[in-house]
Structure formats: C-alpha cells, structure tokens
Symmetry: C2
C-alpha cells in the first residue's frame, strides 16, 4: 500500500523525518506492507515536489539545502505556491505538520491542519500549538470526514506515551503527571550534578543546542502546559492552557538545589493534572531520591499515569529530531493500519 505524504515545515524535525523515511522506508514496508512516499516538502518560502515520490537519495539531498530554501533545489523546487496549489499538484494521503509551535495564534499550523482535513488528508503533527489551542475543532473536523489525526510526537516526542495511554481502554485515568520538558530537566540535572546556578546551566544547555536562544517557552512552563492540554483533551477533559497554574523554573536557585540535596531529595519541574478536580499545574517540586521520577535525568522525560486500577510510569526520550521523526513515521503506519 502506498501512502503519499506531504511534509509541511522543514526545520530539524522535518529534515530528520525525510532522512528517516529514506533510511527505514524499506523496514516499514517489510513489516507493515506500507510504502511511505514523500511527495513534497514545504518551508516558509516554497516547496520541493515530486508527485511520484522522492527516492531515498533525493530525500537525503533535499534535507541538506539551507533553511527556507527547498524551493531553490533543482529540479523539484517551486517557490511561492499556496498550500492549495501544492495539494492540487501532489494530492497527499497524509499531511505531516512540523512547523514551529506558536501558542498565541496557533499559526501557521492551525490553518494548515484545517486545510489538510478539508482536502481529505489525514494529519500527523509534531507541532503542539494547533492541538493545544483547538483540539476539539481539529478532531471534530477529522471525525466528520472519517479522517485520522495522530500526534504521538507532541508529548514525550520520542516515546509512545499517547499510544500507551490509549491502550488503557478500560481504565479510568485519575491523574497524569511527570517530567514533560527535556530542556528544563537537562538544566536541573546540570544544577544538581555540577552545583551551578540556573543562568550558568542555561548557558551550557544553549551551547549544547538543548535550549533555545529565547528559552522562555520551556523555562516558564508553556511547553509542558501545552502537552498537558493535549493529554487531557485526549482523555476527554476540557483543559485549556490558560487554566494551568504555571510556576517558572527561573525562581529555582542553587541554594534551593543544595537544600534539597541535603534532605536526600532533588528538584524537578513537574507538570500534571487531576482528571477529577480539573486542576492542572507546572511547578518546581522537591522529590525524595527514593522516587522513580527523581532518577529521570538529563534529556529524559517521564509520565506517571494514575488510574482506577493501578499506576504506570513510562520513561523515555522527550524529543530530539531523530526520536520525534520515528514518532511521526509510527503514526503514519498506524493511520494506514499497523499491527496494533
């Protein structure tokens, strides 16, 4: 079975996805009988299109053009086309939305996703903002058209948390909490291990490419809050990003860290919601070193899922382009009818 895929957004994650499809396309075809054909990649200035699907070598090549320049790549580049013209030209089955997250307007992801659904394409997202802002609109539009929207990459990007939660079909989820932002966890780990302050840890994280030049989406908890909204909506809860009590990591000092260590504890930036009360929070918490979460360091994420039956913990990579690309590819296979 052929699946025609349009990749919208072509930064680190979009490129990692193109390379991964080149690398593992044949593995996925052998396992699931699904041939993933990338028919177009789109950035802010234009696209590279090949209606019959790029070869592996072509995908590797197009992944190396400079930022916002795929439309200049020979011979498939086309500059300045509207999404509508792109759709007319390549007619994708699956739209992969990997533009940057914008929590104010949700754009350009939100319009892109709604357009994709209107044109009969299934949607796979790594961009969190459209779901964090308009989950019900997107799902409603998909449902009305019999289309699927998958978004494993949006929460614990490299780990199958969403699939794990959905597989608890007969459970009632009471509470979900954990470490959902790899940047702040990396910074906190540095503070505990090297006994340095937040500013110094942040600089190291920025030098390592783990933190953005403007780290506020991570440090102030917006990123984790968006993930909570997506998880909560997945479970049918009406949580909005504005309803989440956010405490920035920026108030945590080296002194706090030292005090915690003295008490055989560590500080983590924990995000969670209570499904019964509707309360949701992102805040620094002091955790005993006996707890599993206290051992989740560096770029790892962890989720605790408390249900009416028992509790589960999933630990894994929070993001990273290669890990996120695997989640996108897994979602595409699952849309087309995977093993589960």
């Amino acid at each position: 079975m052929d699946v025609r895929v349009l990749v919208v957004g072509f930064g680190h994650v979009g490129r990692a996805f193109a390379r991964l499809t080149a690398l593992k396309g044949s593995l996925v075809e052998r396992r699931f009988g699904v041939r993933v054909k990338i028919v177009g990649v789109v950035d802010s200035r234009g696209a590279a299109l090949k209606p019959e699907g790029f070869s592996g070598a072509e995908l590797l090549k197009v992944s190396e053009v400079p930022r916002s320049s795929v439309c200049f790549s020979e011979p498939y580049g086309v500059c300045g086309l509207s999404l509508k013209s792109l759709y007319d030209s390549v007619q994708p089955d699956v739209h992969v939305e990997v533009t940057p997250s914008n929590y104010v307007s949700g754009e350009p992801g939100l319009s892109n996703v709604m357009f994709a659904l209107s044109r009969g394409a299934n949607v796979v997202l790594a961009n969190k903002a459209p779901l964090a802002l308009k989950f019900d609109d997107i799902m409603g539009s998909a449902r009305a058209r019999g289309l699927k929207v998958k978004f494993r990459a949006t929460v614990m990007g490299g780990s199958p948390l969403i699939d794990t939660v959905l597989s608890l079909r007969s459970h009632e989820v009471k509470k979900v909490y954990g470490i959902f932002n790899a940047t702040t966890n990396y910074i906190l780990t540095l503070m505990h291990e090297s006994l340095i302050g937040l500013d110094e840890a942040l600089k190291t994280a920025q030098a390592m490419g783990v933190a953005e030049a403007d780290p506020s989406l991570d440090i102030d908890g917006w990123d984790a809050a968006a993930k909570l909204v997506i998880l909560a909506r997945l479970l049918g809860l009406k949580l909005n990003i504005s309803g989440i009590a956010r405490e920035s990591l920026s108030k945590v000092t080296l002194r706090d860290v030292v005090e915690a260590l003295k008490r055989n504890s560590v500080i983590k930036h924990v995000a969670g919601f209570d499904a019964l009360s509707g309360e949701a929070w992102v805040k620094p918490e002091t955790l005993s070193s006996d707890s599993v979460l206290s051992k989740v360091n560096g770029l790892l994420n962890a989720a605790v899922i408390e249900t009416d039956v028992c509790d589960y913990i999933l630990i894994g990579k929070g993001g990273g382009p290669v890990e996120t690309a695997h989640s996108l590819l897994d979602d595409i296979v699952s849309i087309t009818g995977g093993l589960i």
Copy 2:
C-alpha cells in the same frame, strides 16, 4: 457491536474478568461501541452457558460459586460437556483462555486455543504456556484464518507492555530486560527492607497470597523465562524456554543482600534477552541504587526496552486478578477495533 465471549478457566483471573465485565461493560460500550457479552464460563468440570449473554448480576453471582463448580449453578450450569459441544451451543467470537500455565505440556491451554482458532474464534490469553511453547503454531493458525490472538495479560499482566512494544513500529529493538516476576520482586523487597532471609520472606509472601504453596515456577525463573519467550517471539526472535540461562533466586542469601546494601546497591531478579546475540537469562543481579530498576519494589514490574533510537522503561503492576482482567478486556476491545 456485540462480542460473544467464552471464558475458559474460572479461577481468580476468570472470575475477576467476569466481575470486571459486569462492572465496566457499559463504560467500554460507551467508549468504543463494543458490547462484551459473556456467553459462557468453563471450569474443569463443566460450564455455565447463556447464549444470549449473562447480565451483570448473573456474572457477579456465577463468580461466587465454589471452585470447579460452575456446572452446578442454577439455571445455566451444564456438567461434563466437551469444548466442541460448548462451541456448538454458544458460538463465541472471542475465546478467553485463563486456565493455569503448564510449561511441560502446555495443556489444557494449548489444545483449547488451537480448537478455538479452528472454530473461527479470536483468542485472548492470560495463560502463558501455550505461547511460550508453541507461539509460531498458534500465530500461524490464526493468520491462516484471518483471526487475532492477543496476550497483553501474559507479560507484566496488569501493564500494557506488549502494546507499548508493538507501538514502536519503526524501531529495531536491541535488548529487553527487567523485572517480570512480581512474586520474586516482593520477596526480594522484604529481604532488603526487613533484613530477613529468603525462607522467611517466602513464608510471608505465601501468607499474603503473593507466592504459591509450590513457589518454584517463580523462584526458579520459569515464569519470567516464559515471559521472555513471548516477548522475543513477538519481535520475531526464535527464543525457546530451554535456551534461557536460569539462575534461581534461592541462592540469594541475607548476607548477599546486606553486602549489596553496604555498596549502595540492591539485588533484583532480572530477566532479559539480547535480540542480536540471541542470549537470554534470568538471574539475580546487583543494581546501583542510582538506577531506576532499583526503585521498582514490591509487586511492581518493570521493562527496559533498548532500541536503535533510544531506551524506554515501563513500570507497572505485574499481575493481580483485577489488573489482569483489565488487560483481557482491553485486548477484546482491541480485537474488535479499538481507538489505537
């Protein structure tokens, strides 16, 4: 959509499943549009059958008859019928196999499962033995008939490990290891926390109903080994239970525990396999208290899944009748087309 279910084996797990279906049947129907109808329950002497499906109250009632006596329960009991006659009478869509695990012959589970498939029923198992001994035969028979076999309850019984592993569609799993037996983990936790020897801890575990009168299947690693075989086969590896190096927990002394604690470590009974070399083992291992697995205590299980992309850890309940019953119900929903 109605799903007609025959429950074969009516001990702790079979009864928990009947009660759970009574309790959560309407939740599952609301969420997935699937009405789970138990049309028969079978024990070693006979069955209680109701072709139109038992009501919730009837399920609670039949779950309270003494062991091996459902055939005497009025008005639906029938004694001494063959499985063939039972199938003729209630025509199930799904066969739930919850007879005890027998790692010598695999019986009665193995014959029951093969018969169910020959009659066009999908199969859900909590009994590990048929899969540990004849995985390929069972799957081959199912595949040839377009039927499904699900077995989440067989490994980390209360946790969705199998679904989580299957959801890693584009990963190559390199190694799986962890704590897969709740009884030995409970015993080891008692030894570390109360500084008692294995015999004393075992007696407590038996008194708590956590260990069997004959605990050898757990202590000597047979149970964990069977789980490894199922996980390995799921991933396409040709592992047999006889090919697993088993070291019994019985050689672990209180002195070993004290020595480990002195070195800021703990002893765990760890089971695992290496997908590349084919090696597989169940053995006591000394783990640093910095590791996540060292914090997995009591009746919890944990699995570490090492892949070519990154590593994942899932922690959750290993068994327990209620937890296992949820896994059975989740598998039935997934067979009939759940959300994932």
